[in-house]
Symmetry: C2
Subunit: 183 residues, 2 copies
């Protein structure tokens, strides 16, 4: 039983790495199975179809990205903390965001993937909304909540593929929010 779970995890991690390195364009089952030390037919014992394996990879990526938002700080500090955390993750584990981009692109075509990706983003979006609303109430700034949320998400999705600029970009974004206000 533990073996089963372990091997499943090994397959998911192998699939994740393969997508990070070659994208879905070159994503094949046989090499995945081989790097887990089993035949490709045995892989179907753990994941009935290729799509099932990909869905598991999506879940794996999502689980790695939860919990960078805190609730025990002032809005401005919380924003900076959150952005710093993601920027650090982009630098330290860029593959995570490459795969995420690949999944985002795929969600445009596969409705099943679309709902999963959308669901994950929903939580993030809600946390950011709460953050900006709290900042408005405390007069820390005065901004359009929805537009600000989208701006932050757009920025983070944009730097996803460029780890080297991540730190500078999030600092610039934080400075803009803390130095001015925009309705």
């Amino acid at each position: 039983m533990a073996d089963h779970v372990d091997r499943r995890q090994a397959l998911i991690r192998a699939a994740f790495s393969a997508i990070a390195e070659r994208g879905f364009e070159g994503f094949r089952l046989r090499p995945i199975a081989a790097s887990a030390g089993i035949d490709h037919s045995t892989l179907h014992h753990y994941f009935a179809t290729k799509e099932d394996l990909i869905a598991a990879v999506l879940e794996h990526v999502t689980s790695q990205l939860e919990g960078t938002m805190r609730t025990d700080m002032e809005p401005a500090a919380r924003l900076r903390h959150h952005l710093d955390a993601i920027a650090a993750a982009i630098v330290e584990r860029p593959e995570l965001f490459v795969v995420l981009d690949e999944l985002d692109l795929r969600a445009r075509r596969d409705p099943t993937m679309a709902v999963d990706v959308r669901r994950d983003e929903q939580g993030w979006r809600a946390a950011l909304s709460a953050l900006f609303e709290e900042g408005n109430e405390q007069r820390a700034w005065s901004v359009d909540v929805d537009a600000s949320v989208e701006l932050v998400i757009a920025t983070l999705k944009g730097i996803r593929l460029h780890p080297d600029t991540a730190a500078a970009v999030v600092r610039q974004l934080c400075d803009l929010f803390s130095s001015g206000d925009a309705s």
Copy 2:
């Protein structure tokens, strides 16, 4: 001769559409050739290899995106004009940006594609740098030039796949730049 060029263009357009709709994951030569009304083997008369066709698509996309930056306006107005133009393009021709993202992702693995993509971005980056520097000199704002350039690029790359939020995001970004300053 004109026939040759026409058919070449038809193939490039067909390839572009295919990538926009299915991504590189499902990008196959036979359907491309079929939608241009020729046999897949004849396609190799126009493009020796699959990679050659993809390179032509990259060039096609790039040529569509040049010239949204003007030089006859004040920095703040120029920034807003440029961002509005790109936001409008994202809404009107989202496929252009989907393919661009696909190419960006591909550039991470294919060095040949990487240099082409990098070269295109270079021009854009230079224009933005000039814009922010001019704004600093004229005291329109006081910002870190490099970080601001990266922020704009990151934002635009981030909204690339989400046409519905494009307008709100660029407005928010412009407002932040015009209401405050950040070093």
